[in-house]
Subunit: 592 residues, 2 copies
C-alpha cells in the first residue's frame, strides 16, 4: 500500500527561505492583519494531519469502489461523505475565501500548500470541494450580494457544494457554440434548458444542495462567445429563510466511466427548464467564468505536483528497500543477496527526474501564488497591474507544464517498481491514471499552450515574456558574483537568451503565417516551462546558499541534476519550433 | 467504439518496396521453397480478416470482464476460448515454427506482420499464444527430440498452451537469486518446488494442458546466474500415448489485478514437488531461455506498434470528424458551426508524432526481422554471424525504444480526443493502460538499455555500433546524389556522426567510471533509436522515390515531419549523456 507524508519541510523552505512570505505579508496592509506565520504553521500541521489520516486512506478504496450512478442519484465511495463534512467543518473550503461570505481570507501563498496536500492525498475527493471553491469565487466577484449571501456561506461550510457547467457534447474547447438556452422569466429569473457533460460533482451524496454555475445563451444572444451568459442554478431551490426547498428540474443523466479519478462523479447534467439567476452581466458570462480560471488552473498544476510527490515518496522508498542486482563498481552490500536499487544510476536518474520536477514545480506554484496575491492585495495599482500580467503569462504554464511533467513523473516513478508498478496494490498505476486527467480538463494542455503563445505572447508582441526575462536576468546579475552559483546562473542566462530570441522569432513568424502560433505552442510552453524551472532552481540555490545541513546540500545536488540532465530539453523544444508549421500542414486532410 | 483495420498497404510497402523480400527469399535456399509472395499475401489477408472480425471485437469486452480467478481456476473473458481454438486451428500459432514439430516455417519477415496485427487487435488475447510460441521455440532449440515430440505439436495446434516461469517475488531482473529448487529423481525427472510470480497465462481455460518452462536451481548448483537450469513442467502429466494424464502439483495461487491487459491472466504459480524434465544442459538454463528472448523482445516492440497503429487510426478519424474552433487563417468550413480539428497545427503535430513513429517502427521491426532470418537461414556462415551481431545490437532497441515511443504515441493520440479520451467508451484510455506494460515486462526498458550500452556496446568497444553506422553511411553515399533526398541524407549523416562519437565517448568514459554505462543507458538507447528511425525514413524515402500517388507523396511528407520535428530529440539525449554519472550519484542513499 502506498504511503504519503505532506512535504512540510520543503513547503516551509519555499515559503520562508525562497519567498520570505512574512516580509511580503507585512508590507501588504490587506494581509498584515489576516495572516501571520504561526497561524500558517498551525494550518500546515493540521492540513497534514487531516489529509494523511482521513483523506489519503480513502484514495485507494475510492478508486476501487468508484462513484456509482443509479436512477439519477450518485453514491460516492464509503467514507467520502464523512470526510467531506469534516473538511467543511474544519474551515478548509473557505480557507482562501472572502471573510464577507464566511471565508478566512488566507492568501494564495497559503492555500497553494494546503491544496497540494489535499491533491496528493486524494485527487478524486479533492475535486468535490475544489469545484465549489471555484464556483463561489466566480460568484463572489460577479453575483449580486443577495445571491452571494444566499449561497456562499453554505458552500464554504460544506453544507452545500458547487459545480461549473461549461462543456456540452459538441462544445468543449469551443464554448462559442454551446446550445443551452436561458429564457427570461417575469420574476427576473431564467429557465435553463440543455445538456452539459463532464460535470465534476454534478450529482453526489456529500451535501444537501448542489449549486451549479451554468453557461447558457439567451434567446436573442449574439452568435459565438460574445453571446454567453452565466447563471446560478441550485439543485434545490432555496427558501427565503435559507432552507432547502423544492427540487429544481436539473438532474444527472449518467456518470462517465473513466480511466481514473473514479471516486469523482463526472456527470451528464440535464436542465429541463431549471430555474436560474443571472450572475454578472448578460453576454459577459465567459469573462466572469474566466476570472476564476486563473485559480482553477493553478489548482490543476497542484494536482500534478501532489501526485508526483506521492509518486516520488513511494518510488524512493521502494528503491531503497528492493534488493536487485549489484553495483557496477562491485557489491555495495556484500552481506546481502543483492544491492539496493539505489546503486543503479538509471534508477537514480528516474527518481531525480521526479524530484527535480516536484521541487521546482512547488517553488513555481508558490511564485505564481505570490503574484496572484499581489494582483489582489497590493495597495499599489501599478504593482497590481504588473502582477496581473505576470499571472496571465504564468497561468497556462502552471496548468499545462506542471501537469505534463507530473504525468511523466508518475510514469517514471511507476517504472522504478518494475512489474510491481503495474499491479494495483502498490498504488503507482492509480497515480498514473488519476494524473492523466490533469493534462486534459480545465482546458487541454494544447489549449493552454495556444493561450500562452497566442494571447500572452504574440498579442502583446512578447512584452509579458520580455518583462519576465528581465526579472530573471536581474536575479542572474545579483548572484553571478557567487562562484557556487556561477554555472547555474550561466545556464539560466543562456536559457533566458534562447527564450527571448524564440519569442521575437515567433512574433515575426506569426505575422507571416498565422498557423505558426499553434504549430509552436506546445513546444514553446515546454521550453518556457523549463526556463521557469531554471529560474526557480536559481532562486532555491540562492536561498540555500551558506546554509548548513543535508537538506540544503541536497538542494544543491538536485539542482546540479536539473541543470545538467533536464534543462537541455529546452534546446530540443526550440529546435522543434524552428521546424515551423509547414511540415505539419503538408498533408491533406484526407491524407490522415 | 474504436475501430481497427490491419495496415496491409503499409506492410506491403515495407516488405516489397523497402526490403524487396522476394529477392531475399529467392537467394536463401532454406526459404526459397517455403515462402512465396502469393502465399504471404493470402496470409496477410486472412490475418487481417480474422483479427479484425474475431479478435478485435473481444478487446474492449476482455478489458471490462478481465480474467477471473476462483479457487485455483482462471476464467478468461467470454469469447477468448473460441477465438483461441480458431487461432490454433488456423495454424497461426505454428506459423513461424519448425515444420519438424508441426510448424509452417514462415520467416520472421512474415510473422512480424501477423504479430503486429494480432497485437493491434487485442494484446491481452495475443499473449496467450505468444507465450506458447516463446516456450516452444526455446524447447525446439534445447530440449530432447522426445520432449519436443511430446509437447510442441500440441502447442502449435493450440490444443495446449505454454508459459515461461522466471520471476519470483524477490527476483525479477536479478534471476541469479531465484530460489525455486529442482531435485533430481531416480527416473531422470526432477521435482520442482517454489513460487513464481507474474506468469502470463499460468492458468486459464483456453487449452486442455499448460506447458510451463521453469527456471530453477539444482540442490548443488553454483550461486548466481551460473547455477540456473531450465525445466519443462506440464500442468497435466502426459501419458505415453500423448493423452493428458494426472494433474501435476503446479497451480495458480492467485492472479494480479493490473492497470491493463486485464484479459490476460497474470498468475502466481506454486510448484509443490511438481514433476519436470530438464531442457538443455544443467546450469545452462539462462542461456537456453535467452535464445528465445530475441524473438520475444521484438514481439514486445510489435505490441507497441500494434497499439499505436490503432491509436493513430482512431485519433485521425476523431480529428477529421470533430468540429471545434476555427482555423487561424479564417474559417475552413464556414458552412459549419466550426472547423475540423485538423485545421489546428497542434492536433496535426500530435497525429504526425504517432504516425511517424508507427511507420518508422514498422520498418525497423522488418529490418530486425530480416537479420533474424539471415542469422537463421543464410547458407553463408559469415553472413549468419554478422546478422546475429546486428540482431544482438538491435534487440534491446526493438523492445525498449519501440515500446517507449508507442506509449508516448498512445498518450498523444488520447490527448487528441480531449475529455473523450479519458472516458472508457472511446477505447483510447485502454490503449494507454494496455501499452504501458510493454515498457516493463520481458526485461524493463531500463534493463534493455543497460544490455545495449553494457553488453552490446562497451563490451565490444563499440564494434557493433560502428558496423551499423557503416551500413547507414553506405546508404547515405548511395542516395546523396539525389537532390530530393539530400536534406534527409544530410540529417541522417549528422546523426551517424553524433552516434559514432557518443559511442567512442562512452567506451572511454566507462573505462574511467563503471557507473557511466548505466547512467547513459536509457538516453543512449533513445538517441540510437532515433538514429535507426532516421535510417528507416531514408530507406523509405529511397523506396518511395520516383513513385507516383498520394501514398508515396505522404511518405515524403511524414518523413519531412520526422526530420524536422522528431529527430532533434537525438541531440537532447546526447546532451543528457554528457551530464555524466556524477549528478546521479551525488545524493547519499539516505538523501532519497
Amino acid at each position: 500500500m502506498p504511503v504519503f507524508k505532506a512535504p512540510l519541510r520543503d513547503m516551509r523552505f519555499v515559503l520562508d527561505d525562497v519567498f520570505q512570505a512574512t516580509d511580503l505579508w507585512a508590507r501588504l496592509p490587506a494581509l498584515a492583519d489576516v495572516v501571520d506565520r504561526d497561524t500558517v504553521d498551525a494550518i500546515l500541521e493540521e492540513a497534514a494531519k487531516f489529509n494523511e489520516n482521513v483523506v489519503f486512506p480513502l484514495n485507494r478504496s475510492g478508486d476501487e469502489e468508484g462513484a456509482v450512478f443509479n436512477a439519477g442519484e450518485v453514491t460516492t465511495p464509503a467514507g467520502f461523505k464523512d470526510a467531506f463534512t469534516q473538511y467543511g467543518e474544519g474551515g478548509w473550503i473557505g480557507l482562501g475565501a472572502d471573510p464577507r461570505w464566511g471565508g478566512q481570507g488566507m492568501p494564495k501563498m497559503v492555500t497553494v500548500m494546503t491544496e497540494e496536500i489535499l491533491f496528493g492525498a486524494n485527487p478524486s475527493f479533492a475535486l468535490y470541494p475544489l469545484l465549489g471553491i471555484g464556483a463561489a469565487l466566480s460568484m463572489s466577484q460577479h453575483a449580486s450580494d443577495e445571491l452571494n449571501e444566499r449561497y456562499l456561506p453554505k458552500i464554504y461550510s460544506g453544507e452545500w457544494s458547487g459545480t461549473m457547467c461549461l462543456t456540452e457534447p459538441h462544445a468543449g474547447t469551443d464554448l462559442g457554440i454551446i446550445k443551452t438556452k436561458a429564457v427570461p422569466q417575469a420574476d427576473g429569473s431564467y429557465e435553463l434548458t440543455g445538456t452539459k457533460i463532464f460535470i465534476t460533482g454534478g450529482e453526489h451524496d456529500l451535501a444537501s444542495n448542489i449549486i451549479h454555475l451554468v453557461l447558457a445563451k439567451l434567446p436573442d444572444a449574439p452568435a459565438g462567445s460574445k453571446g454567453i451568459s452565466l447563471f446560478v442554478v441550485p439543485k434545490f431551490l432555496v427558501n427565503e429563510d435559507g432552507s432547502v426547498g423544492a427540487r429544481n428540474p436539473v438532474s444527472a443523466g449518467n456518470i462517465e466511466h473513466k480511466m481514473g479519478i473514479k471516486g469523482s462523479a463526472t456527470c451528464v447534467m440535464n436542465f429541463d427548464a431549471a430555474k436560474g439567476w443571472l450572475v454578472g452581466e448578460i453576454n459577459q458570462g465567459l469573462a466572469a467564468m474566466f476570472v476564476m480560471m486563473n485559480y482553477e488552473r493553478l489548482s490543476m498544476g497542484l494536482q500534478g505536483i501532489g501526485a508526483s510527490e506521492v509518486a516520488y515518496q513511494n518510488a524512493a522508498a521502494y528503491a531503497k528497500d528492493r534488493l536487485q542486482g549489484r553495483s557496477a563498481k562491485g557489491a555495495a552490500q556484500p552481506e546481502k543477496a543483492a544491492d539496493s536499487l539505489l546503486v543503479h544510476p538509471d534508477v537514480r536518474r528516474m527518481l531525480l527526474n521526479v524530484r527535480a520536477h516536484n521541487e521546482a514545480g512547488r517553488c513555481f506554484a508558490m511564485y505564481v501564488s505570490k503574484y496572484l496575491d499581489l494582483a489582489k492585495y497590493s495597495d499599489d495599482a501599478d504593482e497590481r497591474a504588473q502582477a496581473a500580467d505576470r499571472v496571465a503569462l504564468m497561468t497556462p504554464v502552471a496548468k499545462a507544464f506542471l501537469t505534463d511533467k507530473a504525468f511523466e513523473a508518475c510514469v517514471e516513478a511507476q517504472q522504478v517498481f518494475g512489474g510491481h508498478g503495474y499491479v494495483r496494490e502498490w498504488g503507482m498505476e492509480q497515480l498514473v491514471r488519476d494524473t492523466r486527467i490533469a493534462q486534459i480538463y480545465e482546458g487541454t494542455n494544447g489549449v493552454q499552450a495556444q493561450d500562452l503563445v497566442g494571447r500572452k505572447l504574440v498579442k502583446n508582441r512578447g512584452a509579458y515574456v520580455h518583462n519576465y526575462v528581465t526579472e530573471v536576468r536581474e536575479l542572474i546579475a545579483r548572484v553571478q558574483g557567487d562562484s557556487a552559483l556561477a554555472s547555474a546562473a550561466q545556464a539560466t542566462a543562456a536559457a533566458a537568451d534562447a527564450i527571448a530570441q524564440a519569442t521575437d522569432d515567433l512574433v515575426a513568424a506569426s505575422a507571416q503565417d498565422a498557423d505558426e502560433i499553434n504549430a509552436a505552442a506546445v513546444d514553446f510552453l515546454h521550453a518556457f516551462g523549463l526556463f521557469t524551472y531554471a529560474h526557480m532552481w536559481l532562486l532555491m540555490l540562492q536561498a540555500a546558499q551558506g546554509k548548513d545541513g543535508d537538506f540544503y546540500a541536497d538542494k544543491r545536488r538536485v539542482a546540479g541534476f536539473f541543470f545538467s540532465r533536464m534543462l537541455p530539453e529546452l534546446d530540443m523544444r526550440l529546435a522543434f519550433i524552428r521546424g515551423g508549421a509547414a511540415p505539419l500542414m503538408a498533408l491533406s486532410a484526407e491524407g490522415f
